[in-house]
Amino acid sequence: MDTTKGDALENNVGFWKRIGRRITGIPLLAWILGILAAALVEQWVGYEFAELIGLPKIPVLFGALIVLKKKVWMQSPMMIPSTMLYVFSVYILVIGVVARVLAAPANRAAGGLMKMPLWISVLIHLGIFYTALHIWSDISAYRVITLKLTLIAIMVTLSLNVINGYMGEFSCSHPGFMALGAYAASAVTLIFFTNDRLFGAAVLPASLGPFVFPLALIIGGLVAAIGALVVAIPSFRTRGDYLAIISLAFMFIVKSVIENLEVVGGPRGMGSQPNYADLPTVFVWTVLCIWVINNFVRSILGKALNAVRDDEMAAEAMTVNTRKTKMVAFMFSAFWAGVAGGLFAHVIRFVNPGTFGIQKLAEVLAMVYFGGLNSVYGSILGAVSLNLLGEMLRPLEIFKWIIIPVMLILVMIYRPTGLIAFKDLDVKKLIRPR
C-alpha cells in the first residue's frame, strides 16, 4: 500500500520534473515566437476553427466571457467544451509546441544576439512580441482597448511600486497624479489640435498633433511631478500612517479642485481628445516606463530608496541624502503616473474627476500588493493578472467582487509581500539562451 503510494508520488514528481526540464531549456525568444505563432494561427484559421467546433465567433478573452456566462450554461452548454478546446488548441498547444520545436534554433539565435549590443536584442524581442500582440488584438476593438488599459495599468502599478514597494511608504496619491497628468495632457491636445466645446478652435494644424503628443504626455508627467512635491516635502519629517493620510488628502484635493474648475469642465469632465493613443504608442510608452524605472531602481541612487525604507538613520550615516532621495522618488513616481494618466485620457478619449477617486486607488494598490513589492516582475504580473481577471470575470457580475478580494486575501496571507516580491529584473538574464 505504502510502496504504491510512494511510487505514484515519485512518478508524479518525475512527471513534473520532466515538464520542468522541458520548459527550462526554452529561451524567452522561443516563447515569444510561440505567442506570435498562436496569434498568426488565430488570424488565419481562428474563425473557421471556431465555426467548425460550433462557436459563433472567436472567443475574445480566452473564452472566459463565454464560459462564465449563465445564459450559455442554460441554453447552449456545448459551447463550454468547445471554448475550452479552442483555447487549448489555439493558444496552449500552439505556444507550447512552437516554443519546444524552436527551442534549439532560438537558443542559437539568442546566443548570437548576446554578442550584439544589448539594446539590439531587446528591440528584436520587443518587436516580435509587439507584432504578436498587434495581430492578437486585431481580432476585435474590445481586445485593443483591454490591451491598452492593461499596458497603462502596468505603468501606474510600477510607478506606485516605486513608493510603496521600493521606498516602503504607503502613498495613496496616485489617482491624483494620474488625474493631473490626464488633465494636463488633454489640455495640451485639446487647446492646440482640436476644435472642441471647452477651448474653441484648434490653434495649430491637427496634422502636427501626433508628433507633439509625446510632449503633451511629458507635460502631463511634469505637472504630476510638481504636484508630488505636496506629498514629498511632508515626507521629510513624517512617515507611515501620517504620510499615508497626507497623500490620501492630496488625492481628494486634486479631485475636488478639478470638480470646481469650470475651465476643464468641472464634474462633467473633458471629452473629444484626439485619437493619438494607438496601440503602438501605448506600447512604446509602457516599455519606456519599465525600462527607465528598472534602470533607476537598480542603480545605487535607486537602491538608496531601499536603504531609506529599511533604515533611514543608517542611510544618512552612510552618506545617503535621504531628503533628496525621497523627493526624487516621489517626483519620479508621479511623473510616470502622470504619463499613464495622459495616455489613459487619450485611450478613453474622455476624462472626468470621478475616475480618479478611491476606486482607482483600490485597484492600483491591489495590483501592487498582489503582484509583489519591490519588483518590476511583480508589478507587471499584478497589473496584467488583475486587469485581465477584472475583464474576464465580468459575466459573474456581483461574484466578481467576491472572487478578486478573496484572491487578494489569500495572497496576503500566504505571501504577504505579493507573488513576485523583491526580485530584480535583469534583462540580460531574461533573454539569454538556456
Binding site: 527607465v292 534602470n295 533607476f296 542603480s299 545605487i300 541612487l301 535607486g302 537602491k303 538608496a304 531601499n306 536603504a307 525604507r309 529599511d310 533604515d311 538613520m313 543608517a314 542611510a315 544618512e316 550615516a317 552612510m318 552618506t319 545617503v320 541624502n321 535621504t322 531628503r323 526624487v328 519620479f332 519591490n374 523583491f422
Partner: protein
C-alpha cells in the same frame, strides 16, 4: 590641528542632561576609547557628533571645519564613518548592495545616468563594485556577497557593517560597542579586524566599548564617562588605576571585564 575637535558640548533631552561639558580632540590615526556604564551618554555623544542630534551647546570641527547643524549625510561624507550599537543593516539588501551604498556621496553620474543607464554609470558602478569587493574580502564577507544580510550569522553582520562604514572612505571611524553580544571567538576576530583597520588603513578610530580588555589593548587614550560627564581621561594604565574609575565603573561592572 586635531582631526576631530569637540569643545564644551552639552546636550539636554528635555529636562535630562545627557551630556555635560564634553571635550575631545582626536589626532589623525589615533585610536581613542570611551567607556562608561550603561546610560552614561556614550551613544548620545556619537549621535551628537554625527549630526543625528544637534548639541544644545558647544562646537564641533572636523578637519578644521565646523559641522554643527549639518545634515548627518553631509557630516558622513566629510569623512566620518560609523557603526551602530544596535546593528542597523538594511534587511532586504544584499551584502554587496550594503557596501556599495556607502559610496553614494561619490556618485557623479546623477539622475540621468540612473534613469537611462549611461555608460558613465556602468563605469562608475563597476569601479565602486571593485572597491566594495576589496573591502568585503578584508572583512571576510566576500563569499556571501549576494546574500541578504538577514541570512548571515551575527558576527558576519557586524563585519558587513564595518565594511560598509569603511566603504565611505572615512578619515575617522566611530565604533559603538562593536563586540556587544559576541562570542569569545567572534570577539577576537573583531579585535583583529580593528587592529587591521588601524594599521593598514591608518584611520583614526573612536571606540565605545563595554569590555575593558578590548579598550585597554587597543586605545592610546581612554575617557571614562559617568552621567554625561568625563570623570577621567588618560592612558590605559592611568585609567585602570584611577580610583574614581574603579569606583564608578569597575566596581559595578567587574563581570563585564
Amino acid at each position: 590641528m586635531p582631526l576631530l575637535h569637540v569643545e564644551n558640548m552639552t546636550h539636554y533631552f528635555g529636562g535630562l542632561r545627557a551630556v555635560h561639558n564634553y571635550n575631545l580632540a582626536v589626532e589623525p590615526g589615533q585610536v581613542r576609547g570611551l567607556i562608561g556604564p550603561n546610560g552614561a551618554g556614550k551613544t548620545t555623544i556619537f549621535n551628537l557628533i554625527t549630526g543625528i542630534y544637534r548639541p544644545t551647546e558647544g562646537s564641533i570641527t572636523l578637519d578644521g571645519e565646523p559641522i554643527v547643524g549639518l545634515q548627518p549625510h553631509e557630516i558622513a561624507s566629510r569623512g566620518l564613518g560609523r557603526t551602530f550599537q544596535d546593528l542597523r543593516l538594511w534587511r532586504h539588501m544584499t551584502v554587496l548592495e550594503h557596501v556599495k551604498m556607502a559610496r553614494y556621496s561619490t556618485i557623479g553620474y546623477g539622475l540621468v545616468g540612473a534613469f537611462f543607464g549611461t555608460s558613465r554609470r556602468h563605469r562608475e558602478e563597476e569601479a565602486i563594485e571593485r572597491k566594495a569587493l576589496e573591502l568585503m574580502r578584508m572583512m571576510r564577507v566576500d563569499d556571501v556577497a549576494e546574500q541578504r544580510v538577514t541570512n548571515l550569522p551575527y558576527g558576519a553582520q557586524r563585519r558587513v557593517e564595518m565594511a560598509r562604514a569603511l566603504a565611505m572612505n572615512p578619515k575617522i571611524l566611530f565604533l559603538d560597542e562593536p563586540t556587544v553580544g559576541m562570542t569569545p571567538g567572534e570577539l577576537n576576530e573583531m579585535m583583529d579586524i580593528i587592529k587591521q583597520v588601524r594599521d593598514d588603513l591608518g584611520l583614526a578610530i573612536f571606540l565605545i566599548e563595554h569590555r575593558l580588555k578590548m579598550v585597554m589593548e587597543l586605545c592610546e587614550v581612554i575617557q571614562t564617562l559617568v552621567f554625561g560627564e568625563v570623570i577621567a581621561e588618560g592612558s590605559p594604565e592611568e585609567i585602570q588605576n584611577n580610583p574614581d574609575v574603579i569606583e564608578a565603573y569597575l566596581g559595578k561592572d567587574t563581570v563585564e571585564t
